[in-house]
């Protein structure tokens, strides 16, 4: 019964992309700083490929920042697809949509299992907010439609941003973690980390999830050995990938052009993040210090969130993907699109959110004003960098609102499950739960 709407969604989604690839929007999107970054721009890839085909190392210059394995993969794909390369990007988008549908299925099953396990602890008044199988079925369709028609996803696809490979790796890692497949999950996390470094954080929720499946208590020796195994397996895979790259490339030079480029942020082309503005404004001798501050900031949330959400590792994984998208050094709509597409998995916490209207407005305003202010700044010369940065800042703020709001809603629902969804009555007045 679900097959027809699912197929229809995929078909319309692909049709939309096919049509847009034919319009002049494709070229425009491929140049927009909000959509592609120096790390993911297809223009830079073509530069790298031609250098590679001329037997020059693309890592000698300052243009190309993809990893050696991706370089060879893209070269192969570029040769076999030729001018119909856009079909590859459409297919990759479709593949991610299918993987998301699988994630929704397994995640729904996992949620029901968890609910059945803990139901004895829940308040008797929490009946209304318990999950139903039907609602979870619909989620599978919503997540696919939400991905294929998300304007940010469409723009990323039309711009031929290579961030799509990164998103594919993260989605695969998530699916395999949910399936409990330790080796493959580790391998895909390693691939995601190999592509864009930051996803190495995902090893924490994956390790917790897999350990919880095997043992009951997090401090039991079984669990600890499982966690160790996950971490080691990921690190081994990552090392193997790097070593293969080294043997193919014949030198370690690529490390500086890829991870060095991500970590030391030498390219200050404006984008929707906050790095570029701070580092253009800053005095040279403070740069190193603030570089450490900014990069540690991207990683630091792993610790408190892992402690708070240790019983909900998949939500932890989602939070980390979202924070990565906000705080990474070269963020784009592609990263934002990925975690926005995952939100339907937690559809049941959305009634508890408070700011989604404001957040949606903020995101819309930013998406419209960013190109306008970019035009006024760069082409007309009548605005300046501060205008564009203001919009980038609002965009980041909106995302932070969204993430904290979702975290709040998630915790609020957990609280309600234990204490009942009706407010307590004290002195004849209903009380409120406030997060402070």
């Amino acid at each position: 019964m679900m097959a027809f709407p699912f197929l229809l969604t995929c078909f319309v989604g692909m049709g939309l992309r096919y049509w847009l690839f034919g319009t002049s929007l494709a070229g425009w999107f491929a140049e927009q700083n909000e959509i592609v970054t120096p790390l993911t721009s297809w223009k830079r890839v073509t530069e790298g490929l031609s250098l590679f085909n001329l037997d020059r190392s693309p890592y000698e210059g300052d243009i190309f920042h993809e990893t050696p394995l991706v370089l060879r993969l893209l070269n192969q794909l570029n040769n076999s697809f030729g001018s119909s390369l856009y079909i590859l990007f459409m297919l990759l988008d479709l593949l991610i949509a299918v993987l998301l549908e699988r994630i929704a299925k397994h995640h729904g099953r996992y949620l029901l299992q968890e609910q059945a396990r803990k139901i004895s602890e829940y308040s008797t008044e929490a009946q209304d907010i318990l999950l139903k199988t039907n609602a979870l079925q619909i989620t599978r369709l919503i997540i696919v439609a939400g991905y294929l028609f998300n304007p940010y996803v469409v723009m990323t696809c039309i711009a031929k941003s290579t961030a799509i490979f990164n998103n594919l790796a993260i989605v695969s890692a998530m699916l395999l973690t949910l399936k409990g497949n330790q080796t493959w999950a580790c391998l895909w996390i390693a691939v995601a980390a190999y592509l864009s470094f930051y996803p190495i954080m995902l090893v924490v929720p994956a390790a917790i999830f897999i350990a919880q499946r095997q043992g009951t208590d997090l401090s039991s020796p079984q669990c600890i050995s499982s966690v160790m195994k996950t971490v080691l397996c990921t690190l081994t895979s990552l090392t193997a990938l790097l070593y293969i790259s080294f043997t193919l490339e014949g030198s370690w030079q690529f490390l500086n052009s890829t991870y060095g480029f991500i970590l030391s942020v030498p390219d200050l082309t404006p984008n929707m993040g906050v790095f570029w503005y701070f580092f253009t404004e800053m005095f040279e001798h403070f740069c190193l210090f603030f570089l450490w501050v900014f990069q540690i900031n991207a990683f630091i949330y792993t610790v408190p969130l892992s402690i708070k959400l240790r019983d909900q590792p998949i939500f932890l994984m989602f939070m980390l993907i979202a924070l990565m998208a906000i705080f990474k050094s070269y963020p784009s709509y592609a990263d934002c699109a990925l975690y926005l597409s995952l939100i339907p998995l937690w559809r049941h916490v959305l009634p508890q959110t408070r700011n989604n209207f404001i957040v949606v407005c903020m995101l819309m305003v930013c998406s419209v004003l960013a190109p306008v202010l970019w035009h006024l700044w760069i082409y007309s010369g009548s605005a300046n960098a501060n205008f564009y940065f203001a919009i980038a800042l609002v965009f980041s703020t909106a995302q932070i609102f969204l993430v904290t709001d979702l975290l709040f809603a998630f915790l609020r629902r957990e609280y309600d499950l234990l204490h009942g969804s009706k407010p307590l009555i004290i002195n004849g007045k209903p009380t409120e739960v406030i997060l402070e």
Binding site: N355, V365, T404, E432
Partner: protein, 579 residues
């Protein structure tokens, strides 16, 4: 975070806004609308001042003193500047005149600066028009040639000066600029430039008909409502005063007592004229095409009155020479002063900081009336209204080609096509209704989406073209904010009339009507005015399509991709079941 996360303060704010919702909206709208107009009153706006001191306007003695003659482009060589000819061809977009390319030529001479390598340049340009055309430019060309001759003998130039005569007005200008900056466009095929100079810092376009003028009219509005740096206009105004020639904007000199009532009305009219020109998005002269390339430019137009004092070309030459001497002093690109302003008089300006608050207040009802609910039942209306936008954006070629069979002119066929799409948009709520009699589309939600979209579009537009945003906000805000499905038949009829009256196509016709009344002086017989404005409406719509393809004027794209879908959404809204 406190404000939006703390439920108590938030509830207070929300309940206040929802309680005084309607009076707030009315107050905001009226205050915004009138507040904006009040800015034309001299005490409420500011006197222009020089931000860029490097211009040093008027700090030199005058040297130009030659009698101009009707020399033409071949004279450049004899003057001794580096002379080149550029060939270009253009074709009509959207298959209007098939497989035919029209040739044109631009002639330019580069005076190489004796005091610097050719890294920076100034441009003096005059359009070449045939002698029998309505607005002649022969005087401007003559002036340019004699100025070139005079400039060449001076040693103080630190920037190259390019003297440029263009054919076919804006087409030639665009071809030259495209070639200079290597930006090819699909319909204008610009030939290679055989000689070039450095980065262009500023450009002055001269339009003078004969050998004497009574005042200098300054034209500032550029493509898509972009304006040149205010310092450039200040320079022109100041130098005009030096030469005791009256500077005007929109052919209106400053009022003697700007703070009086008649002074206010005078400046308000001037400001409105400027806003109308800016709102159209098309440049008011050749200078407008320089602005998108980040080159500050103005047109100075000689105006000849029947009575009053006349100035000879000698006097005019002094002003233009002074202008170039000032620009020659520039150390860096224009970056100080204002890029966003409105001019109620030549020496008064309303800056962005002054005009944005009233505009914001006027558009605020759009935000106040927004409320939030679930989204899914809206999809058909949203998709359809977007579809109408895409349709009107992409079908001009189709309409032109299919109209050939009926022997309709291209401009009429494009207008009729737009009308057809409007009628289709009018009919679509009926179609939706027939398919699903109890479709769950909540009109409040539709309205929320529509108002948000309107606020967003107007907000973004206000940053680029405040005049267009102001006019659209002025007519749309009250109608859209009050739009809702009525059970009462009379109220519904009123609503339909109102909404049709603010439909984008009708607004274009009204705008053309207003243009005819204000800018052409023949209007005396009302019937004549009607036919003329209808003609102008179709021509205006047609030329906005042409401008979009030839010069990159966004008015047409905005019309079809933003205004038509929003309007269609609201039209659908008033036909949804009221509950």
């Amino acid at each position: 975070m406190g404000l939006i996360n703390n439920p108590t303060t938030r509830r207070k704010l929300v309940s206040f806004i929802s309680r005084f919702n309607s009076p707030l909206c009315v107050i905001c709208y009226v205050v915004g609308l009138l507040g904006f107009l009040a800015l034309a009153y001299a005490p409420y706006n500011a006197k222009t001042y020089f931000s860029e001191n490097a211009l040093l306007p008027g700090w030199f003695s005058w040297a130009f003193n030659r009698i101009p003659a009707a020399w033409f482009e071949s004279k450049f060589r004899s003057i001794g500047v580096d002379t080149h000819v550029q060939n270009f061809t253009f074709e009509y977009p959207e298959g209007l005149v098939k497989d035919q390319r029209f040739p044109g030529q631009n002639v330019y001479g580069i005076l190489r600066a004796p005091r610097a390598a050719s890294t920076e340049a100034l441009v003096m340009t005059a359009p070449y028009r045939p002698l029998d055309s309505a607005e002649k430019t022969a005087g401007g060309i003559a002036l340019m040639l004699s100025l070139a001759n005079a400039f060449r003998k001076k040693t103080y130039w630190a920037k190259d000066i390019i003297f440029l005569v263009t054919e076919f007005d804006q087409l030639g200008m665009k071809a030259w600029l495209n070639a200079y900056h290597h930006c090819p466009t699909p319909y204008i095929h610009a030939g290679e430039l055989t000689g070039r100079s450095g980065a262009i810092q500023a450009a002055i376009n001269i339009e003078i008909a004969g050998d004497s003028i009574s005042s200098f009219n300054i034209k500032s509005e550029g493509l898509n409502g972009q304006l040149p740096n205010l310092d450039l206009i200040n320079t022109v105004v100041l130098l005009c005063h030096h030469g005791s020639i009256t500077p005007t904007v929109h052919e209106r000199a400053d009022h003697l007592k700007p703070a009086s009532q008649s002074g206010f009305i005078h400046s308000l009219q001037t400001m409105m004229l400027m806003m109308m020109t800016q709102a159209s998005g098309s440049p008011s002269g050749n200078h407008g095409l320089f602005l998108p390339f980040h080159i500050e430019a103005v047109t100075i137009q000689g105006v000849k009155m029947k009575t009053g004092q006349r100035f000879s070309l000698n006097k005019i030459g002094d002003v233009v020479e002074g202008l170039f001497r000032s620009l020659n002093n520039l150390l860096e690109r224009f970056h100080q002063s204002f890029f966003f302003y409105l001019l109620p008089a030549t020496e008064r300006y309303v800056s962005i900081g002054l005009y944005m608050p009233p505009f914001g207040v006027m558009a605020l009802p759009l935000i106040i009336k927004v409320s939030d609910r679930g989204l899914l039942p809206l999809l058909p209306s949203l998709i359809l209204s977007t579809f109408f936008g895409i349709l009107s954006f992409n079908t001009t070629r189709f309409f032109v080609e299919s109209a050939e069979a009926f022997h309709l002119s291209a401009s009429d066929s494009i207008l009729l096509g737009a009308l057809a799409i409007l009628i289709a948009a009018i009919a679509y709520p009926k179609l939706l209704k027939r398919k699903s009699p109890t479709s769950g589309a909540d009109w409040r939600l539709m309205k929320c989406m529509g108002l948000l979209a309107t606020a967003l579009v107007l907000g973004a537009l206000a940053l680029m073209n405040i005049s267009l945003a102001y006019f659209v906000a002025a007519v749309w805000t009250p109608v859209l904010v009050t739009a809702k499905p009525h059970g009462n038949r009379f109220a519904q009829l009123l609503q339909v009339v109102l909404l049709l009256a603010v439909s984008p196509l009708f607004l274009i016709c009204v705008a053309s009507f207003a243009y005819t009344l204000i800018f052409t002086k023949v209007a005396s017989d009302p019937r004549q005015v009607m036919t003329q404005s209808l003609d102008l409406a179709s021509k205006g719509f047609f030329s906005s399509v042409m401008d979009f393809h030839l010069f990159g004027n966004w008015t047409f794209a905005l019309y079809s991709c933003a205004f038509v879908p929003i309007w269609a959404l609201f039209w659908g809204l008033i036909w949804t079941p009221a509950f």
